[in-house]
Symmetry: D2
Subunit: 274 residues, 4 copies
């Protein structure tokens, strides 16, 4: 093995932890951190596919629902954007202050999960962390609330807590488990808390994956050539590759753009001209 | 002078050029590149204030108009977002392929200026460059097109080209100059091509400037303390400052957010746990 | 038979034609024309379910695509709104001038189908008429264009014309037929041109149908009681029923609203007080 | 006087009350109820101009603010739509159940004013009624809330109640009066509670008024010719006039639309063909 490429936010967090601990054995390219990955796949791919998964599973209308999105990273931005686009009233929960202000200025309600838990109709976790929704939150949710995860593993929605609070559980429709709580309220877990767009849908649209896969292919070519100079590190996709993928995509879309003239290039680089 | 802080995209481009040329005499903090600056001031500040300026000047309705936004940086994103929010049909022109794909996926038409020039009702340049709209574009514009700049100086919309093509010019309303071309078409230049939100409006809302000014104040405190270790370079605002400004902003908005538990922090940093 | 109730726009057009021709044998209530039907079922139901059907069938991303919506009635408004919400660039075609101006002011491009045919990626007919997309349009479409109908029968997209222009056809995925034209271009017909939300999806969400079915039930109760006085006519749902359904819906959603005070009622009804 | 034409919702309510009371002396045409009026002027005109007025007066950012819109008629729909388009979190209050469900499905929070009063940053009344915001609401508002009216007279926001609760008042900026309540909270009344788009802005954009004025002119021509047959009643604008204004508008916008073929017309009118 000369090196590899990793395309998830969560995977890169882990790889960087390995690098810090000296546990990384070969260079890894952080494909997720390329513009042509996270700006597109995470936002437009996750955003659309999460609702494809939820809608075909539940056959409920999104318009008018209060959708709670946990995490306002690129995936969360995509999910919140599409929830709004489908007519939902969107609430965002965050642990990062900068992202929280961003969600706020994007017109979403921002509050701690303990508040959001009381008003949400559909909950979607997109954090890459665990226990984002847990016992204390189930305790205050409305009867009929839907729980879905689009972040990473099935630990974002804490299932042991949910089971502990429940007196019974049954599958009411494919990929929908009903948990009946002691006080009679019913909470519905989609796709066992696994990634709802994968487990209950078709995953990201093929088209949006084309950019990611182009990056992957070119990142492997790059790591194959440069693995010695890179060393046992997690490195970014070189900007030239990123830019090349975008150009190819535009071409495939039939969209042309402008080019800087020499005068304009010079102008951007100069500091003497006003 | 121990150092300074610069808050515009264009200014930082110039400072970096000076740094490259060895012309920088003291450390400069790139306030514009702080999250709490460009994510907010550039997008929500410019986005809203540009239309405040245009609308009060023209008293035209934006809904239904084809608005051409040149440049899809953070300011351009804000202008395009608000144009859409006001009911416009938005076209984006770009020279950067990645941004162009982003605009495309955001649902905007993407094309070269020469194509956009033929269909636009309102043109807004937000590039930081010169000659973005020039002779060849005026030649194909519709009668009545409006030209506005929200990027930097009055060089984005090329005025000498416009004058050269015109047989007469007159001020038809405060901040609106009508250029009558040889073939009878009329093009309207707002605020002499200067920043339309400043020259024809009140500039950014005070509220959105609060974050920028907080960053400025804290950047100056930082450069005062660290100027020796920084040297004659352009440096970023330390993340801690960025994060602190966001926390203060949230507090002032009365919005609370979640905090990571120790378990969650550990989980994010570990690579051994599943 | 004492009477009946009809819930589609197209059905009511037919019933009114029957009434005009003296062919109607008993009273019919035009449930489609009740506010609680067309404002909701047609817009939010059709809007969402059309894309549920298309997305699960094609697994393509909607963001960035040019979606051509034919017909800007309540169904078409819903489809256009959701297309925009999913990030599409939306074009509307119409035969009614008032609706066309409305689409225009809503920020959509408005043009004849012959122009739209050249630029559309996805075509969705929602007109209740026939031959909306036909030979002359296929002749200019882009390779790969998708054709879907969400209006009424499988006559909105003219299939005989499509077959006549094609040299071969094959099913490339469930509910997607590829028509290869003589010049090599491929057009894809979804669900055989039948209602794409029903034939390739689950139809309208159950929730949105609740209002329609409540209207149906109460319309039948009404026609049962009033059939003699109504006669052989197509009549509207009485406003009281409409309003009652809305109140019940709000209650079920847990949403309270204000009530007019006696002073306010008096104020609205008076013309002497200023 | 042979007749007249009235273009406001509120005016027509009054005229109909006069008609009921036998106080109407000549025929009046309800221009407001023409499609080309309320679909456009009320929505796009009021929607945009209200924020033009508020923004130039306050110089505050709308993004992130909780905007409470009272009344979800055509004007209210326009104001809510633009508030959302400017990045606000929108709350709607209503007295009509059907409109309330509509606002709910459009993704807005719906609640009684007494609840909305606690969370709103900007209040905009668009009801045509009086005392929409009154003492009990001021009692629970947040410090700094802004009060604006875009409905009809300066009675929607109850000023005597506001004065009674205040210990002092002063003009803090042109068209902004600060009322200091006994507990120290400050409420800001814009433009003395008069129509904020007229009193603190330029009113509706000229362009959007063109349709309304065309209707007015043609309604007067109509009433001049038909006043005898109409009698002392409030009548609608004939559909032909409405449609003609829309066609002229489309033409002036350079937008072409499709025409029904004879086959299509026949198809729409027939009930025997499938």
């Amino acid at each position: 093995v000369r090196g590899g490429a990793e395309e998830t936010t969560t995977g890169i967090l882990r790889l960087k932890a390995m690098e810090r601990d000296g546990a990384l054995r070969f260079p890894m390219v952080a494909v997720n951190d390329a513009y042509c990955k996270y700006l597109f796949d995470n936002r437009y791919g996750t955003g659309q596919s999460v609702f494809d998964g939820i809608n075909r599973t539940t056959n409920l209308v999104v318009a008018g629902k209060t959708v709670v999105v946990s995490g306002y990273g690129w995936c969360g931005k995509g999910v919140a954007m599409r929830a709004k686009g489908l007519g939902a009233n969107v609430v965002v929960t965050e642990v990062d202050a900068i992202r929280a202000v961003e969600a706020y200025m994007d017109g979403f309600a921002v509050m701690p999960m303990l508040e959001a838990a009381k008003i949400g109709d559909i909950f979607i976790t997109v954090t890459g962390n665990r226990d984002v929704i847990r016992g204390e939150h189930y305790a205050v949710m409305k009867d009929g609330a839907l729980l879905a995860n689009a972040g990473h593993f099935d630990v974002e929605v804490n299932k042991p807590d949910l089971e502990a609070l429940s007196v019974s559980k049954r599958t009411v429709r494919k990929n929908i488990e009903e948990f009946r709580l002691k006080d009679g309220r019913r909470l519905y877990l989609l796709a066992e808390g696994r990634l709802v767009n994968l487990a209950a849908g078709d995953g990201h649209p093929a088209e949006i994956m084309d950019m990611t896969f182009a990056l992957q292919a070119m990142a492997l070519k790059y790591v194959n050539e440069a693995h010695e100079s890179i060393g046992r590190r997690v490195v970014n996709v070189p900007y030239e590759i990123d830019e090349q993928v975008a150009r190819l995509k535009l071409e495939s879309l039939g969209a042309a753009i402008d080019r800087l003239s020499d005068d304009q290039k010079r102008y951007l680089e100069s500091w003497q001209e006003h």
